[in-house]
């Protein structure tokens, strides 16, 4: 009697477990659709198949035009504190005079996204790193603010955040006590929507088209073709850093 009762209870328990299992599976499947829509470009792994870079034509860059700098500041929420020696600058305009010919040129200067970045070599915690697609970044969560990377950068491309910041852009994390630099508008690249970095976009909008952005590894890209056709140069090529930013008509 007791055995029949136990068997009945067992069957009831199994039915319950089966129903619960079906319900859980259905729920999981539902969640699957809700939480994980089909993969988009942002969740694609970053690989070395691409190398993002730029070609800057100094001939087209207009002296006195600051559109690229303004666009960068707007995009990343960079605001001056009226202290030019400590204010962050991710991109700056520089005017040069050739010592031999006296020719004057203007150009934007930012992180050169080196293949062999000295900032990455010297960073004690690995906060400075180079993505597989060539973008050199700072992980703001592991930067301890030692500034060794700033000493190591041949282009003075990095800034240290010297004060408390408010109203940062969600796509551009920045914070007091850490080091930062041009990230090639990585958030735009990772959107996969084809938006180009803010500086290149602003330059084109002004009609100068001095900044050409693209994939250096893709032989069909305009950038790769221009690099192949024209004489471009790296800044401090003697250091052998293989920069992702190239210049022509310096």
């Amino acid at each position: 009697m007791a055995g029949a009762h136990k068997s009945l209870a067992d069957r009831s328990r199994r039915r319950f477990l089966a129903k619960a299992g079906v319900a859980a599976a259905g729920l999981a499947a539902g969640m699957r659709f809700i939480d994980f829509p089909h993969a988009n470009a942002a969740s694609d792994p970053v690989t070395g198949a691409r190398r993002w870079g730029m070609l800057i034509d100094a001939d087209k860059c207009a002296r006195g035009c600051n559109a690229c700098v303004t666009a960068c500041n707007d995009e990343h929420g960079i605001q001056g504190q009226g202290r030019p020696e400590t204010d962050a600058q991710w991109i700056r305009k520089v005017t040069l005079r050739d010592n031999a010919t006296g020719r004057e040129t203007s150009l934007p200067l930012m992180c050169q996204h080196c293949e062999h970045p000295p900032c990455v070599d010297v960073c004690p915690t690995g906060a400075s790193f180079r993505r597989a697609d060539g973008i050199v970044l700072v992980d703001k969560h592991s930067c301890i603010g030692c500034r060794y990377c700033m000493l190591a950068c041949p282009y003075k491309a990095r800034s240290f955040v010297h004060e408390e910041l408010t109203d940062q852009k969600p796509w551009s994390p920045r914070g007091k006590g850490t080091v930062e630099s041009c990230n090639l508008c990585v958030h735009r690249i990772d959107e996969g929507s084809g938006r180009i970095p803010a500086c290149a976009e602003a330059c084109a909008r002004e009609g100068h088209k001095a900044i050409l952005f693209g994939d250096m590894n893709n032989p069909t890209s305009t950038l790769a073709k221009e690099l192949a056709d024209d004489d471009s140069q790296e800044l401090r090529a003697d250091l052998g850093l293989n920069t992702g930013i190239r210049y022509e008509d310096l």
Binding site: P84, R97, G126, A152, V179, L239
Partner: protein, 402 residues
């Protein structure tokens, strides 16, 4: 009370009395300076580094000058320990304990400064758990912590008689360790290919020479203060040995400085930096010629070797003090001067416009908080030495003959 030559017996050690008003005044003064340093660090962390004189051009300032100076000096403060325990110079044996205490204390003072200057000192644990092994800084995390651990182990072998047989091997390991540490400290700058003032392998041996010189000077000041002034034995032979060593090390540093700058002067287009440093650098040039070379090298060399001043312990202390001041000037010239001179991003071209100070010499005006943090680190080193001598038997009291 001078000890005689040919020490054959072991020495009797004791703690310092440390009861008088003078002792407590010293402790209170050091504690006050440390408190001011902590306040400075807190201000830098809460306000941000704009309250310092450091900028995006001069990214390392007074805190780094003092920290590097203390760390380099710490390594050389072990000279007496190495002479006694590794090279078998028995006359230095009674003084090896103070040598190791001073070394550990100086290193901890330097590390405190460099840590509290970080933009995010609250992330110290990140630095201690995430290592990028291509970074000289990451190596130094191991070298510096290992130095303190080995120094403490070395002291144990000296103070615990059953551990005495290990003094020589541990002392030898510590000697190798500190030479490596100072090499890596010099290479912090030596590996920086971007800057004309650095990018030189010779910076490693130059830093070793600097450590031997500054460390010997620091030991002379410490031993004269701790032993001579308290009527404890400080053997004439030891004092003469330290004097000779200091003269030799100051000369070796000068040699490296001359070779370093001569090579830079010789190289193609690099004279710009040398012209800046040697002629046109304003305060940097003054600190180099007056601070580092005249007051920090030539004058102490004269005091250490001139027959009228050489026998005097007072003049020895003065010479050692000058070497330390000159050393500080030298580290300032290396760190600040090397950053102040502009990067050559565009060889063959002159920068005529820039919003980021390209092509111009960077100005540096250190602020009070930087000095307070730096002095706090020095005071921490001194406090460790004083308290160490109060709680453990670091100083020889009398010599016990066989």
């Amino acid at each position: 009370m001078a000890m005689t030559d040919n020490i054959t017996g072991y020495t009797d050690f004791s703690v310092i009395e440390g009861r008088g008003a003078g002792f407590y005044t010293l402790l209170a003064a050091l504690a006050a300076i440390i408190a001011a340093g902590l306040w400075a660090a807190h201000t830098m962390e809460t306000e941000g580094h704009h309250v310092t004189g450091m900028t995006n051009q001069i990214v390392w300032g007074i805190p780094h000058v003092f920290a590097v100076f203390l760390i380099v000096t710490a390594s050389g403060a072990l000279n007496v320990a190495s002479l006694s325990s590794v090279m078998g110079q028995k006359i230095y044996a009674p003084y090896a304990r103070l040598s190791a205490l001073l070394a550990i204390a100086l290193l901890l003072g330097g590390l405190a400064i460099i840590t509290l200057d970080l933009g995010r000192p609250d992330r110290l644990m990140v630095a201690l758990t995430h290592f990028n092994m291509t970074s000289v800084f990451a190596w130094n995390v191991f070298f510096y912590s290992g130095f303190v651990a080995l120094g403490a182990l070395y002291l144990w072998t000296l103070m615990e008689r059953r551990m005495n047989p290990l003094t020589k091997p541990v002392g030898a390991l510590l000697l190798i360790w500190r030479l490596t540490l100072t090499t890596a400290t010099g290479l912090i700058f030596g590996v920086l290919v971007a800057r004309e003032a650095y990018d030189a392998a010779i910076m490693a041996p130059m830093f070793i020479a600097m450590s031997l010189s500054f460390g010997t000077a620091a030991y002379i000041v410490a031993s004269l203060a701790a032993l001579d002034c308290t009527g404890r034995p400080l053997d004439d032979a030891v004092v003469n040995g330290l004097r000779r060593m200091l003269a030799i090390f100051v000369t070796v540093v000068l040699y490296f400085v001359i070779v370093f700058h001569a090579v830079k002067l010789y190289g193609g287009g690099l004279q710009g930096f040398e012209r800046f440093l040697l002629e046109e650098g304003g305060a940097i040039t003054t600190l180099f010629w007056i601070g580092q070379i005249a007051a920090g090298s030539l004058l102490p060399l004269a005091l250490l070797t001139w027959k009228r001043t050489a026998p005097s312990r007072v003049w020895l202390a003065a010479a050692a003090g000058l070497v330390l001041a000159g050393g500080l000037a030298q580290v300032y010239v290396i760190i600040i001067g090397g950053q102040a001179y502009p990067l050559r991003i565009f060889p063959g071209r002159e920068v005529i416009e820039s919003t980021f100070y390209d092509g111009v010499v960077a100005q540096y005006h250190p602020s009070l908080v930087e000095f307070l943090l730096a002095f706090g680190g020095v005071a921490l080193s001194l406090l460790i030495v004083v308290l160490g001598m109060k709680v453990l038997q670091f100083l020889p009291r009398t010599r016990v003959a066989d």
